[in-house]
Amino acid sequence: MRVGVQFTGTLAAGQTQRWFTFNWPQQWHVVWYVVPTSPRSGAPQIEWSVEVERGSSTNITYWITIKNLTPVSVNIEARYAVLN
């Protein structure tokens, strides 16, 4: 298993933004998750969803959609784990 950070970014208040990341070997079992990096306690700051595209017979593209649930901007970090 390997874990890592694929990208970081900033979402404006209430903004939803989509990122994509490509050329992931199709045989890798990958999970995606996102955390805020700017502290703001008291309520959830973000949520995310993952969509998947088979870019080729050998590669996969992941589309990560992240939503800022707060009225202020938030910095995020998109993390992954390769499970095999």
Binding site: M1, R2, V3, G4, V5, Q6, T8, V31, Y33, V34, V35, P36, T37, S38, P39, R40, S41, G42, A43, P44, Q45, I46, E47, L69, V72, S73, V74, N75, E77, R79, A81, L83
Partner: protein
């Protein structure tokens, strides 16, 4: 050096006075206005966007022929937006930098002006900060720090290799084992940015030409030995001459204290990414100082604006390393609990982290191994007499005998770009050693695509590892300056990873209902995924679905919010599972 004591004293005294003048930015009069006043300063004067009466303050500024400028440079509106975007909670309170102002006035008038300003209804605090200084002097010539006399002998055509004189690079416990870090991918500080905040540097030095960004804000002083020595320790080039820095692949830049120190810290923070590092090579005269040299000088986070500037950087995920100061002081002393009259009423002593925590890593000065360069400063890793101490201090570095660039006592001559020293000292020389160690670690983590250390995690690993402080006569290890970093231990700790799974909670959800749970104090550097399963069988269709939301509760911890929906027509029992995938 073959000079008589008498002539050495004469030379040093003259040189010291000149250096002090060049390093000084001067005293600073800082004003904090009440947030509810909604004050804004423009080129036309001051005004309130919330209807507060600013006439008395305007009249005072006009009658005294002084101006009032936002301390942190940007407009009040921009600063307020930045603060709002970064958080408020009790643990991670993000400062509102928009309420800070600097009064521009002749230095001799500042104390009187502070008294007048405190009488204004919309002013919450007004205080004069003593000038910040690098740890250059310490009173009499026999014990001065960093007042080396350059050799008059010109450098040879090719500078010798001095790396073997850099014992701080060696294996622990004598050094920090930088050489071990260099064997690991990224361990020379690849892809890490470091900004040194102080006065002057020689970025044209022959050993500082790679991976450097020069001065990125402010104007450098001509008193450049100190800064040159600091960045040599961190980022001296890899080559066959001179010295080698602890993390030479890191990109080292500088912000000059040609502006108020708090302003400079924000300037540095705005140029860095999470996981990068700021070094604060400054201390200033604290309460109870004797006035002799730098006796009683303390770490700058004691002043409200510097504390909030550091907190601003920390809230952006940037590690701040702060010299503890060369003031001979116990920072746990109750004298630091006493609020100066001009400080905000809400101020509490930040040296007691149970009051509030800047998030910085504070560094004390320890003795190098005996007989380093043929000299002895006490037992290895014992507190050096000048170093401040206390519970606040997180780690120590060499406070004597640091071989690096600048000063010219090891190699001198007419060209300062060829100067080296064998005796850089103080919490000034100690702090870059800790910065260098952190630069190596961040480089390793980034090389593996891992999350760099957060400020809180960096402090945690420094305190959890390293070569322990030792006793010296009259300076027991209870006078805390922390451990000397050990990169062999540190790299093993930060690169280790683990995997496990568990069940965090169970519950029951009525038909067609959604319920939300939260679970808190999960270390922010852990990679965690959440899954939910029903535990009461109901074949024939889906029973539940879930959605995860995330809150960064503080620099150290994450709170996960798990929203679970029962999509069936019957109550369902659920089990929320987690997997820690590593870090």
């Amino acid at each position: 050096m073959a000079k008589s004591k008498k002539s050495l004293k004469s030379v040093n005294t003259n040189k010291s006075n000149a250096s002090t003048a060049e390093y000084r930015f001067g005293s600073e009069l800082i004003v904090i206005v009440k947030p509810e006043a909604g004050l804004q300063a423009t080129s036309d004067g001051i005004a309130s966007i919330k209807g507060a009466d600013t006439n008395p303050l305007s009249k005072l500024l006009k009658s005294e022929k002084i101006s009032m400028q936002p301390l942190f440079g940007a407009s009040e509106e921009r600063l307020k937006l930045e603060a709002d975007s970064l958080s408020p909670s009790s643990e991670t309170k993000i400062p509102d930098l928009s309420i800070y102002y600097q009064i521009v006035a002749p230095e001799e008038k500042l104390e009187d002006l502070a008294i007048l300003l405190l009488r204004q209804d919309i002013v919450e605090a007004a205080y004069v900060k003593p000038p910040g200084e690098p740890p250059v002097l310490k009173g009499d010539a026999s014990t001065m720090l960093n007042d080396m006399t350059p050799s008059e002998i010109d450098a040879p055509p090719v500078t010798p290799n001095f790396v073997l004189r850099q014992g701080y690079l060696d294996a622990a416990p004598g050094g920090i084992d930088a050489r071990h870090a260099w064997t690991l991918a990224g361990g020379r500080g690849n892809n890490v940015n470091i900004i040194d905040c102080e006065w002057g540097w020689r970025f044209n030095h022959e050993d500082l030409r790679q991976n450097q960004g020069g001065i990125v804000a402010g104007t450098g002083s001509t008193a450049d030995d100190h800064g040159t020595a600091v960045i040599g320790e961190i980022g001296g080039d890899i080559n066959a001459i001179g010295i080698t820095g602890i993390c030479p692949d890191a990109r080292v830049s500088a912000v000059a204290f040609s502006m108020p120190s708090a302003t400079a810290i924000r300037e540095a923070a705005n140029r860095l990414r999470p996981g990068d590092i700021i070094l604060l090579e400054i201390h200033r005269q604290g309460p109870g100082a004797s006035g002799a040299g730098q006796d009683g000088y303390i770490a700058i986070e004691w002043w409200p604006d510097d504390f909030d500037a550091i907190r601003y950087a920390i809230s952006r995920g940037i590690i701040v390393v702060e010299a503890a100061g060369n003031g001979f002081r116990n920072l746990d002393n109750a004298i630091y609990n006493v609020r100066p009259s001009g400080f905000p009423a809400s101020w509490t002593n930040p040296f007691n982290r149970s009051n509030r925590d800047s998030g910085a890593i504070v560094v004390g000065a320890g003795a190098p191994p005996p007989n380093t360069h043929g000299r002895n400063h006490g037992p290895d890793r014992s507190r050096l007499d000048f170093s401040n101490w206390g519970a606040l201090i997180d780690a120590q570095g060499w406070g004597r005998e640091v071989t690096t660039c600048g000063y010219g006592d090891l190699q001198g001559g007419t060209d300062k770009d060829l100067w080296y020293t064998d005796t850089f000292s103080g919490t000034s020389s100690a702090s870059p050693i800790v910065v260098g160690a952190l630069g190596c670690l961040q480089g390793m983590l980034r090389a593996q695509g891992r999350i760099p250390l957060s400020p809180a995690r960096a402090r945690e690993v420094l305190r959890a590892t390293g070569s322990a402080q030792q006793d010296a006569p009259g300076r027991p290890s209870s006078q805390r300056i922390g451990n000397r970093p050990n990169l062999r231990q540190l790299s093993a700790l930060v690169l280790q990873t683990n995997f496990w799974v568990g069940v965090q909670f169970r519950g029951t959800i009525p038909a067609h209902q959604t319920q939300r749970w939260f679970t808190f104090n999960w270390p922010a550097h852990w990679h965690i995924i959440w899954t939910v399963v029903p535990t009461n069988p109901r074949p024939g269709g889906p029973q539940i679905k879930w959605r995860v939301q995330v809150e960064r509760a503080s620099d150290r911890f994450i709170t996960y919010w798990i929203n679970i929906t029962n999509v069936s027509a019957s109550p369902v029992d659920i089990e929320a599972r987690f997997a820690v995938l590593g870090w």
